[in-house]
């Protein structure tokens, strides 16, 4: 098995199903990941995203369906034959090997000589800035350093696809942002195909070329971060990404792909998005609600939280509690104050109920 560079590869899932006895963990999932892009699998725990990642890695075998890497069918190939590397949530560094031995493990088990393997390992350790710590044991490193060793180890073989399973979950909040940026930077610099699993929507939006949102073993929506945020295809996606307010409305289609939507006392004109006349919902981003002194939807401030860069309010209205974010406001609104809410131009989307 040679360790030559073969370039990043695309990943394609065709009607993949994975069952464990009566439980279906992945149900008829199909998507394509273009070579050289970073795609995130996003969803709540138990949605099947990690199983999907493990299927790509070859750590699980699909019950049915086809999996292609670089156009080749790898459905029944074992993990060792797939040319795919993974960075594990727990890092999975071999505790009885030094940092250098860990990084050199891949080439060495594939038959490279010790010197070759160490040279490759040194190169990648330098890439993540750990060239000086090669002789340490993993237990002697900090969490962030361990994570970088795990990345270097996965990179050594120049895999056609690199997989990340919640790589930031064991890091503290401050480190997360930096590591996240490092990963994105590395991916773009080396032109890697990366599949990244997370349950943190902010993390997903920040690093991805595309995001695939999963829910209950199926793909709920896939698209660019912006599409997902601004055009959620379902209530679940709208709710999961960015805490949208979901408000009951009545829809009346009009010309030009638009619809007239009545929200309480107000009427909005929104893109219809194929929704029929009758009751539906709109997803409203918390920062797309504007405070007005008069007109709009009347309500009362129920909760207030001061977060430095912005304020968070919960407003009790006839349509239910509405979550509002206000930036750069001159004054702090008091609990029980009477307010009126209006909708901004953007961030209000009609969603199938």
């Amino acid at each position: 098995m040679a360790t030559t560079h073969r370039g990043a590869a695309s990943v394609e899932l065709r009607h993949i199903v994975k069952r464990y006895g009566p439980v279906t963990a992945v149900n008829d999932v199909s998507f394509t990941i273009a070579a050289g892009t970073l795609v995130t699998l996003l969803g709540p725990s138990g949605c099947g995203k990690t199983t999907t990642l493990r299927l790509i890695a070859g750590l699980e075998t699909a019950t049915s369906g086809q999996l292609l890497i670089g156009g080749n069918d790898v459905t029944t190939l074992s993990s060792a034959d797939r040319d795919v590397s993974m960075v594990f949530q727990s890092y999975a560094l071999f505790p009885h090997m030094t940092v250098l031995e860990n990084a050199a493990y891949g080439p060495s088990v594939r038959g490279a000589s010790k010197r070759e393997a160490q040279a490759l390992a040194d190169e990648k350790l330098a890439l993540v800035g750990l060239e000086k710590l090669g002789e340490r044991l993993p237990a002697e490193l900090s969490g962030g350093q361990q994570q970088r060793v795990a990345v270097a180890r996965a990179l050594v073989l120049e895999p056609r696809v690199l997989l990340f399973d919640e790589p930031l979950s064991n890091l503290d909040a401050k480190l997360r942002r930096r590591v996240r940026e490092d990963i994105r930077d590395l991916q773009q610099r080396l032109g890697l195909t990366v599949v990244y699993v997370t349950h943190d929507q902010q993390e997903a939006l920040a690093v991805s070329d595309r995001v695939i949102v999963m829910d209950h073993a199926v793909v709920a929506q896939s698209g660019t971060p912006r599409e997902l945020y601004e055009e959620p295809a379902s209530l679940f996606v709208a709710d999961f990404i960015g805490d949208a307010n979901l408000i009951d409305v009545m829809v009346r289609p009009i010309d030009g792909g638009l619809a007239e939507v009545s929200v309480g006392p107000m009427t909005l004109r929104l893109r219809r998005r194929g929704i029929d006349a009758g009751p539906a919902k709109i997803a409203v981003r918390p920062e797309s609600l504007l405070f007005r002194t008069e007109g709009g939807l009347p309500g009362t401030i129920a909760k207030v939280a001061y977060l430095g860069t912005h304020m968070e309010y919960t407003v009790a209205t006839a349509l239910g509690d509405i979550f509002v974010i206000e930036r750069g406001a001159p004054t702090l609104r008091e609990v029980r104050a009477k307010v009126a809410l209006a909708f901004a131009e953007r961030g209000v989307t009609l969603v199938r109920g």
């Binding site: 727990s90 560094l93 493990y105 969490g143």
Partner: protein
């Protein structure tokens, strides 16, 4: 086609064309004896047998190899499954169908000529079978079984086949033979008669003066020994954990001794102390005029020996249980106004009760399986294990009777194991939590403490006397009669002299000692290997029939040695697998009897090793075999030491199964010692025993040294700390 497939296909070809198909007489492949007549009807390979020796039926198992070679060239590995399966089936069928005496079944004899005879499979047959097994596994892997991992499928196939062949097949053969009369015909009525005979179940001892059935004897002994050993163990555990007892380290040491002592050696020492001519008997007779008697032969002696042997086992179980009772629970009870005695009775005792029951069942099973002590000390008190032995080697030589007795014994031990799993499995109250529990255990109630001290003192005294006897008995002319210092016994056993051709080992014990060391040294790594691989398969892989597989690996633990011995004799005395009289059968017997310990130790360790370590290795391109070797095994070192030490020591000390399997050529130390003891040569027996104990201590130290420590360098314990701390 992969390199491994080419390799296995070629090995299959070599097995057919070159290797002797049948088992070789004499020293086997390594000696050159067989080459002198190669090839002939006994040493020829399959091709020769078919072409020149008139054994055309061997075409059946050989032809599928051509099929495999054909599909390998044309259709790829997926098609291996059919052909390898066919080859394996035909190999087994023809092996069972035609044996020494000709065709095994009457209807077959009608079809074949009367001189269609064959001995058991040899290197050729075994290698071809292995080749079919491995190629079939590769076929299943190519079809996507076990994530397409050929190593895993092969390992499962190999372990399952071995367990089927060396655990289940003998037991089934034994069951079948119990239903046959002496001519080998199927006779269920004979089986029922034998099973219900008064010799086994008679209750004459209650009303009349005759002795009871051997089954009742066994049960009675097991209950008393189990209860007694548990009481002793509990007394020690309470003493160690709950009092300011000064000699705790000594107690720990005393608990290790029985592990490295062959079980019957305690019986031997008891004879030397309390027998008619025993040391203590002599003292009592001289000083107090207590007449010498043979009281020790029979139930009292066996019971005493078993109590001394099993109490440490109960202690090891119970010390964990007693330590597990959180002191805060008792403190809570006391603050609620309960007296010390009430707290013990209402809180402590209910918490340790399941552990006590567990220790009792363990002692019960050990007593049932014990063979050496009843053999040496039993006198007229017969138990199942010795009765089985005498049914095989005695004047009656009734293998059917032995099989029936073995079945009764097996039913008892399996019943006890079933009870243990079913009834106690979920009832163990673990009160050890991750939280620190800083309370102080309350002192024992005065009465309990006094009882503990009394029992412990007596037991320690006895144990010291026993081990003094074992270690020193070999250096005096005749313990109890003549205390003159002498090396005679050691010289008889282990003398050596310089002859014209170098060092000459003239002692009578050397042969059996070398066999024992050789067999133990070969079987220990094999046991550890198969045990740890099995543990890996059970914890790290998911496959159909896994629960049954686990049950099968643990089953051999519940089978008493005598039952194993009988079943091996019945199963492996005839083709196709003919092994009796070889050293190989001893190795196999040890490997499969001791394998559960390797499995348990490995499973406990693997449960603590993060599975993503294996997965990381796989995604980095290492195959499962490489992953095992480079990642899992180095982390499994403590389990490896446990498995190696245990299987080595068990192989050195076992007597019950091997006494059936030893031969003049391959005798084992324990069987030899028992033979000496039966012949009344106690001096030599005890000298040899102490030599064995010393050798085992040295071997354990050596294994520790060779395997070494795990290197983990856990200095900084941080967020990324990997949970691999072992239970080693």
């Amino acid at each position: 086609m992969t390199r491994a497939s080419v390799l296995w296909l070629s090995l299959g070809g070599i097995a057919i064309a070159l290797l002797p198909w049948y088992g070789l007489e004499g020293d086997g492949l390594l000696s050159s004896d067989w080459l002198r007549s190669y090839p002939d009807a006994s040493t020829g390979p399959a091709l020769y047998q078919i072409a020149a020796a008139g054994r055309s039926w061997l075409l059946l198992p050989v032809l599928p190899w051509l099929g495999l070679a054909g599909v390998a060239a044309t259709r790829g590995e997926r098609a291996f499954v059919t052909w390898a399966g066919l080859g394996m089936t035909l190999l087994l069928v023809e092996g069972f169908a035609i044996i020494h005496s000709g065709p095994a079944w009457p209807w077959l004899a009608a079809l074949l000529s009367s001189d269609a005879k064959q001995p058991g499979l040899g290197y050729g047959g075994a290698l071809l079978g292995l080749s079919y097994l491995m190629l079939g596994s590769r076929g299943f892997a190519a079809r996507g079984f076990c994530k397409g991992d050929a190593f895993t499928v092969s390992a499962i196939a190999l372990v399952v086949s071995l367990i089927a062949l060396f655990v289940f097949f003998p037991i089934l053969t034994m069951l079948a033979s119990a239903g046959q009369n002496n001519n080998g015909a199927w006779a269920p009525s004979v089986f029922i008669d034998k099973l219900l005979s008064a010799a086994i179940w008679g209750v004459g001892c209650i009303a009349r003066g005759v002795s009871c059935g051997v089954a009742w004897n066994t049960i009675f002994l097991a209950i008393v020994a189990g209860a007694g050993a548990t009481a002793l163990g509990l007394a020690f555990a309470l003493l160690t954990v709950r009092t300011g007892f000064q000699w705790k380290r000594l107690l720990r040491l005393l608990t290790i001794l029985p592990i490295i002592t062959p079980p019957f050696v305690i019986g031997l020492a008891i004879i030397l102390l309390f027998g008619r001519a025993g040391a203590i008997t002599a003292l009592l007779s001289d000083w107090f005029d207590i007449p010498r008697s043979r009281w020790v032969y029979g139930l009292p002696g066996v019971l005493l020996a078993q109590l001394l042997a099993f109490a440490p086992i109960a202690f090891m179980v119970l010390i964990g249980v007693v330590q597990g009772v959180a002191p805060s629970l008792e403190e809570a009870s006391e603050t609620l106004g309960a007296s010390r005695w009430t707290s013990f009775r209402r809180v402590t005792w209910p918490l340790i009760r399941p552990g006590v029951a567990n220790a009792f069942l363990l002692g019960f099973v050990e007593s049932m399986a014990d063979f050496g002590n009843p053999l040496v000390l039993g006198g007229n008190y017969e138990v199942l294990s010795t009765k089985v032995f005498f049914a095989v080697v005695g004047a009656s030589h009734d293998q059917g009777q032995a099989a029936v007795l073995a079945i009764v014994l097996l039913a008892f031990t399996l019943g006890a194991f079933y009870a243990q799993h079913r009834w106690l499995g979920r009832r163990v109250y673990t009160t050890v939590t991750g939280k620190g529990d800083s309370g102080l255990p309350i002192p024992l109630p005065t009465g309990v403490r006094a009882a503990c001290y009394g029992v412990a003192a007596l037991w320690t005294l006895l144990t010291l006397a026993i081990y003094a006897t074992i270690l020193l008995g070999g250096f005096v002319r005749a313990l109890g009669r003549d205390y003159t210092f002498t090396f005679d016994h050691y010289l008889t056993g282990f003398s050596a002299e310089w002859g014209p051709r170098g060092l000459l080992l003239t002692g009578s014990a050397w042969d059996s000692l070398w066999t024992t060391l050789g067999v133990s040294a070969v079987s220990a790594p094999l046991t550890a290997a198969i045990g740890l691989v099995t543990a890996y398969l059970l914890t790290r892989q998911r496959f159909a029939g896994q629960r049954l597989f686990e049950f099968g690996t643990m089953l051999s633990f519940a089978i008493p040695g005598t039952v194993v011995g009988v079943s091996y004799i019945l199963a492996f005395n005839v083709p196709p697998v003919e092994l009796t009289g070889t050293a190989l059968i001893l190795v196999i017997c040890f490997v499969f009897r001791n394998m559960p310990v390797g499995v348990r130790a490995g499973m406990a360790m693997l449960a603590q090793i993060d599975q993503s370590l294996d997965e990381a290795s796989l995604t980095l391109g290492a195959r499962t075999g490489t992953t095992l070797r480079r990642v899992v095994l180095p982390l499994l070192k403590p389990a490896m030491v446990t498995a190696l030490v245990y299987s080595f020591v068990r192989a050195m000390t076992a007597v019950s199964a091997v006494i059936f399997l030893v031969s003049a050529q391959h005798n084992m130390a324990t069987a030899y010692i028992v033979g000496r003891a039966e012949a009344g040569e106690f001096g030599l027996a005890i000298a040899y025993s102490s030599a064995l104990i010393v050798i085992m201590l040295a071997a354990i130290a050596l294994i520790q040294l060779l395997v070494g420590e795990r290197r983990l360098g856990r200095r900084a314990l941080g967020a990324g700390e990997l949970a691999i701390e072992g239970a080693g």
